[in-house]
Symmetry: C2
Subunit: 212 residues, 2 copies
DNA sequence: CAAATATGAACGAGCGCTCAGTCACACTAC
DNA sequence: GTAGTGTGACTGAGCGCTCGTTCATATTTG
């Protein structure tokens, strides 16, 4: 029973060459993302996905066992890109409170850029079979974990006041979700704030919340 | 061209008696909500909705022109219930910072109780035809507006420090979304916090953010 | 009985997915 | 070299089925 590409997924495929599988699946994801964003998962047909990829439907099903497989591939790809963006941002570890401000700025900017993708995950995660929904939610936790670590490091260095573990974790969730908020309330917020306004106001709040 | 019940919707119906329409539609909503929550909108069939209501499919289509009509009725009903809960809470206007704390407590409790319903709106609003999606989003704005007013009143009374209009509005959005956060991250949060923990931690943050 | 309300068989468009078959290419035998 | 054979990526017509919706008909109401 041949299994998937070199990496972490269990999606079965008929195709033997793992590099081809990886490349084809990247093509499928690239084609499916705009379709899912535009019409949603349920209103996108497998034939449309195949056509957008430049495949026959038959070929699509050589690389994927079901339409839901495509959604999972898409969700994974999106998370990977968001996480890469955030990780990049966290690498440049400045010091002091500005470090937190910089972190928030980078993260919110990623959210701004990935607007539609983040929305897609909010709306379609529920359409995944349980096994994969779980994986997507684990990704979400891992992302928040990055903030937990960053906050803990700053506190350890004395750059931020001491807090209980519970508080740190909740603040990390708040930061994550306030980034998402820009995407799912953008239809309203963007009428009143630029992304810059939004970042500086929210940063002010979060810093204030840490004992301004 | 006969029009809808006494209230605000434009949904057409074949049935002449407005009270009957209102009653039947309430039945439809009551039956559809648990189905949509359990299986989602797309995977729920009109026949299932009819059966759960105790109607024949034909009869369902006397009170509704399409499946999407049902979704719209459901979204409206949910918003009405949430808004009623929040309004009740805001009526008992205490004074000082405790007023804000009490407001948050009540609102978060409503979110806790309406967990699945709020999630449903997050996930299925996009499935509505544009015209009704707009209405649902207006409801969302109105809800946040309640918090804007409440905050403005407290500031006017000198119970809270002065803030720009922009800040007030964004804080209102933050409160709204942090309530929702309990519903859409509950799968994680509930493992680490009780709703009481959650309320008191978040209240602390929000009060701190207002110049603790 | 006339109007209003209710029924559910029937419709047909459209869906996800399959599978018998094609084709380009690589390897072997002579 | 070239004929023979095997492999695996790729094709797309079409299967089986579900779904939202309609409408001729039946039942109830006033």
């Amino acid at each position: 029973m041949p299994t998937a590409t070199a990496s972490k997924t269990d999606i079965e495929t008929q195709v033997k060459n793992p590099e081809l599988v990886a490349r084809r699946r990247r093509q499928i994801v690239d084609a499916a993302v705009p379709l899912f964003i535009e019409k949603g998962f349920h209103k996108t047909t497998t034939r449309q996905i195949a056509a957008a990829t430049g495949f026959s439907i038959g070929l699509l099903y050589e690389y994927v066992r079901s339409k839901e497989d495509v959604l999972y591939l898409v969700c994974e790809a999106i998370h990977q890109e968001v996480e890469r963006g955030v990780n990049d941002a966290l690498q440049r570890h400045e010091r002091g409170r500005e470090a937190l401000a910089a972190m928030i700025r980078e993260y919110f900017t990623v959210c701004h850029r990935m607007n539609d993708h983040i929305l897609l995950i909010y709306q379609e995660t529920q359409s995944l079979p349980p096994h994969w929904r779980k994986r997507v939610l684990e990704n979400e936790v891992r992302l928040t974990g990055l903030f937990v670590n960053a906050l803990a490091r700053l506190i350890a260095h004395g750059d931020l006041p001491k807090l209980t573990e519970q508080s740190i974790e909740l603040i990390a969730h708040n930061i994550t979700v306030l980034g998402h908020m820009w995407t799912f309330r953008r239809w309203f917020l963007a009428r009143h704030y630029s992304i810059e306004d939004y970042i500086s106001l929210q940063t002010g709040f979060i810093l204030g919340l840490l004992g301004g």
